[in-house]
Symmetry: C2
Subunit: 189 residues, 2 copies
DNA sequence: AATATAAACGGAGTCGGCTCCACTTGTCAA
DNA sequence: TTGACAAGTGGAGCCGACTCCGTTTATATT
């Protein structure tokens, strides 16, 4: 990779982060980002095939931070299995709310999501949820556990928001419902 | 409503259905539809605020057909509860595959989805799944049952496709995983 | 039938995502 | 150092979703 190309990549990311901080993601156009980075639209698009991909790259660090935070928490906690599940879920929901717009933009991009699902980071995310689901679920084959973690992440996507839309379903209700669903009686903690 | 306005509404729907049959939904532009219907873009957009809304209207009849079909099946079946659950889910997945493109377009429109969730039709859809989930789940409060039905629908949305992306998860696997999750031992059938 | 008017029309125009390609520049071999 | 060329650039331009508004028309009233 040429040195100037690397510099441009950095400039894009910095510009995008700044713009996304000062305006809503939707109202920031790709042209705005290119201009702020001091480059042309063509260059922007050679680095990122579409807006969703750029949003994903901007968010990567935050997603990784969530995963790391969850690992730290799980490494040192003495909470019950249920409390761990609820704790991790709560943090995930908080993270999602903080990055609502970026995540919505990412999740609307079908091709971007397809590659994201293949990524190591997404597998780490799944692994975190598998870890907290495992003690709740009795003895489950690994594939089944993975399925449940995957399902959880799918239903919490921004375009779903089962719990937000269903008027009057609070986060506490969501947690309670999910716990009840995932817990096999007699096997927790 | 003026008579000519009603006629235009009909023409739009007919034109849209025809075009969606002969090309992919994505490649049909709103202008194409307007032209085929013999009206201007302005008129099209007065009837449907966006493409997603039009796609939803085109799909309404199919969704209703699925609901009716499921009701008919449930009214006359003697299958076990598990078989009923799998039967209804299978038909739903088949319906979704048949209308993949339309549903994807609908589900990408956040505002359209928000109103769809409020609609009677969506409530009917939820009710169908509540009906097949109920005998699997032991005694659940109505709210909890509704939550699970909602969750199911959310995870099966086109932009999720948990099962398709997770390479090598067949429809049979999906059914098996969901059954295992939803069945409370000792209460099925 | 004539008229007033609200309802509806349609197409020119805006805006944003994205592409294409003629041009520039960093790099490396000689 | 210089020349060749792959790598990279940037902006004009396309296309499609969606809006705005001056014009037309159905219909209710007289």
């Amino acid at each position: 990779m040429r040195k100037d190309a690397q510099q441009n990549r950095d400039k894009i990311l910095t510009a995008a982060v700044h713009l996304f901080e000062s305006q809503s993601v939707e109202t920031v156009s790709m042209k705005d980002i290119a201009t702020a980075a001091g480059i042309g639209p063509g260059t922007l698009y050679r680095n990122y095939p579409n807006k969703s991909a750029l949003c994903l790259d901007v968010s990567l660090v935050d997603i990784q931070a969530f995963v790391d935070d969850a690992h730290d928490y799980l490494a040192q906690t003495t909470d019950t299995a249920i409390a761990q599940f609820e704790q991790v879920l709560t943090r995930y929901l908080q993270f999602r709310e903080r990055r609502l717009q970026l995540l919505a933009s990412i999740e609307n991009g079908a091709t971007v999501m397809a590659t994201y699902y293949q990524s190591d980071l997404y597998q780490q995310l799944v692994a975190v949820f598998m870890q907290v689901l495992k003690p709740l679920s009795g003895d489950l084959k690994i594939g089944e556990l993975k399925f449940r973690a995957d399902m959880l992440l799918a239903m919490l996507k921004s375009n779903s928001y089962a719990y937000q839309r269903q008027q009057g379903l609070t986060r506490a209700d969501l947690l309670a419902n999910l716990s009840r669903l995932m817990i096999k009686k007699g096997t927790q903690n």
